[in-house]
Symmetry: C3
Subunit: 318 residues, 3 copies
């Protein structure tokens, strides 16, 4: 899918997922994001830095077929902070209503000479499909149940920020593992960086043969959290409840919600993470979401920096 010899520092044309990333690539992205954090913290004249102006005169298109505040804003901010022009296309505005195929939409966008396309789409594999058809880099902003690579990268950056390093850490992911692109991207990326990953889900939401992904599977939360350095709670999609796959809100909260009692079972220095938006009282009790162990807002801050790094690295010629 990727072109033969991309001339950027990452050595890949597009960021489609974390499954195919190796440690050195993840390292480069996080290190670059940390450079951006230093620039942000230094309050230096932001306009001067060449690292910040690296997308000046370039155009980034955000093609979003699913509603999203956070991911869309984060990419938009990242691109604008690098000096890019940003065009946002959402399902409502787009010609897809008019019966145009995704490929025709994308080819039309490419004909307008943008420099990079960020795609969020409900169909797994759609960024890969477009990557094969377009010459410009594609960044996967979430594709169905498949991957959400920038979310995983910002999770890793946040863990490293608080734990010093990733190697050897024990990380638990709790929730609807079967339908979570965040879980999939996290698992691939965490394992690439030497973490030991566990998952905990109700049996109906656990992927069959999940152990093949190299993770340990739990169905009881109390047992799962023991000894974990990091606990990532996934967002519950209440739409699924109607389909009988999810227990009720109250039941989910009782068996899989992280509350003060569960937090006491965890290591004292555990990190509590969540990709947001949080359903307070469901995945996380309010006292946990707002506790000192929670680094949810750090994840959001790091999200912009990771996206800056990805946009910079994919468009920078070596």
């Amino acid at each position: 899918m990727a072109v033969a010899s991309p001339q950027n520092a990452l050595g890949i044309k597009s960021l489609l997922g974390t499954e195919s990333l190796v440690k050195s690539q993840i390292r480069l992205i996080i290190d670059t994001a940390q450079e951006y954090r230093k620039l942000q913290d230094s309050k230096l004249d932001k306009i001067q830095s060449s690292l910040l102006g690296s997308l000046k005169g370039k155009t980034v298109v955000l093609l979003f077929f699913e509603a999203s505040t956070r991911t869309r804003s984060s990419f938009e901010l990242a691109a604008k902070r690098l000096g890019a022009e940003v065009i946002v296309l959402t399902q409502q505005m787009s010609s897809v209503d008019k019966g145009e195929t995704l490929l025709d939409t994308a080819r039309n966008i490419e004909a307008m000479q943008p420099d990079l396309l960020v795609l969020r789409h409900p169909s797994a594999g759609s960024p890969m499909y477009l990557d094969g058809a377009l010459k410009i880099p594609i960044v996967n902003g979430g594709d169905g149940f498949h991957e959400h690579p920038t979310q995983a990268l910002l999770d890793l950056m946040t863990i490293e920020e608080f734990k010093g390093s990733l190697e050897g850490l024990k990380v638990l992911i709790v929730g609807d593992i079967a339908h979570s692109r965040v879980a999939r991207s996290d698992i691939y990326a965490l394992k690439a960086m030497g973490c030991s990953v566990s998952v905990c889900a109700p049996p109906t939401l656990m992927p069959p043969k999940v152990e093949k992904m190299g993770v340990q599977a739990f169905t009881h939360l109390d047992e799962a959290v023991l000894g974990q350095d990091v606990v990532i709670a996934l967002r519950v999609q209440f739409e699924r409840m109607n389909q009988g796959q999810l227990p009720s809100r109250a039941e989910y909260s009782r068996f899989y919600g992280i509350n003060a009692r569960v937090l006491k079972l965890c290591k004292e220095d555990v990190l509590i993470m969540h990709p947001g938006p949080v359903n307070r009282g469901v995945e996380l009790a309010t006292e946990v979401a707002d506790s000192e162990r929670s680094v949810i807002l750090n994840q959001v801050s790091n999200g912009v920096l990771i996206r800056m790094a990805v946009l910079h690295l994919l468009t920078k010629k070596e």
Copy 2:
């Protein structure tokens, strides 16, 4: 609510309303807006001026939970003309649909490191609530029936533009006083600048004990307009008609609409104002809206300048 010692020239962290503003603060905002008008009229190279580039490298987030063309565009233009990057978040796009609390939405936005947040929200007090929780300055772009401070400031700037000064002027506000954030903000600001303020409304739309706000109350328009230097007509919200609080369109127009007959009762040099959008034939007859006494479009022009001044002053370090 505000932090102890904000280091900007206004001496306040956020602009939440006009109720707490003093004369010197209003003076500074209007004077700064007039500087921007001079720059605009001079057609000087707009990029050169430091006053215009003052938000270069900064990010302004517009978080709008109510539909709005004018206010949103006006803030967007103001921020962009100062060199800021602007991110627009509307209810449709936002995660609030997904059950996130306003505070979580706002904290997430703050985590992305913007420099200022403009909030329009149907709940009175929401900007104040966020101001207590966030470190960045908040500008109230309208909160329920409470306040709309930039509208009041642009009204004052427009009155001063045509009347030379505000001190001692007689100003009448006509319409749904009880539910108007524009009326409230206007009353506070006009009185702070030494104006004598009256209101005129149908009895059902007059706030109880309105005289406590230091205004004179009328229910008959013919009597109310006599001797007024300025008449501000408020927009009628037809939604209320169904609730029985408002008379019919025709009745409202007959008793509270400013038409040619009413205009003749006014002082010859009266200013006719309206926050827009005008329901022609209801609050203002077309011949009045388009007359030489109407300064409605000047209000719109000044709106951008006032918002530039507010954004500049709240983000400028002393």
Copy 3:
């Protein structure tokens, strides 16, 4: 409608249609767009060029009362590439919902001091109406069944790119001629440049007395395509089918769709064009849309360049 002596190089205040354009004006727009293509291809430092920075410090408002991906994005990109600030106002966001007239909306926008307004509106003549009322240049981005001048200009630029010149070429337009603003704008512009224009439509979709526009009219496609240098297929608006004016999807495709069989009847070097979005299998068979004769994506690329040229020429003082 236009002001007496506009001081720009085109000699017109606004671009309302192609009907009133003369050859030298069309020539200047296409030549300027070709300058922008050279700059784009040269990969020179895009920020340096004065041709590219010509809208720096200026504001362009896109007022779109009809949904549109392509035209809106194309104008947005064109304006941003020239350094302009862009404000997008769509029907959903606008105060028109609130009962404001188009003229009041436009005057309010003008009061915010933008430098140019692009209007797309379902009512034929609305850009002309606003042009008479506003001082700033208006660009018609499509008005009802009337005109879509930038589409025609990009069509001409594309034809010239592949045919070397326009003079004496034979061009066929196929589809719903009666309700197509693209057809009208194309016919005027092509004839101004010395092309010989034919149209082909089902009898119900052929305008009465179409020959008065100086075109040859066909109802049979096989006959119409013979000897044509260019075939422009129009998009079918399926909404009309319910109104009995259009045959079924299958019937339309059978009698008016360009498929491999029809392509064989055409000149070997015919150009196949379409304003997009294409209904594959209806106006164009997939093998035709994706064939080497199709220049649909070149049209999209040229669209941005034509719009850059138009924005530049209308705002540049001589």
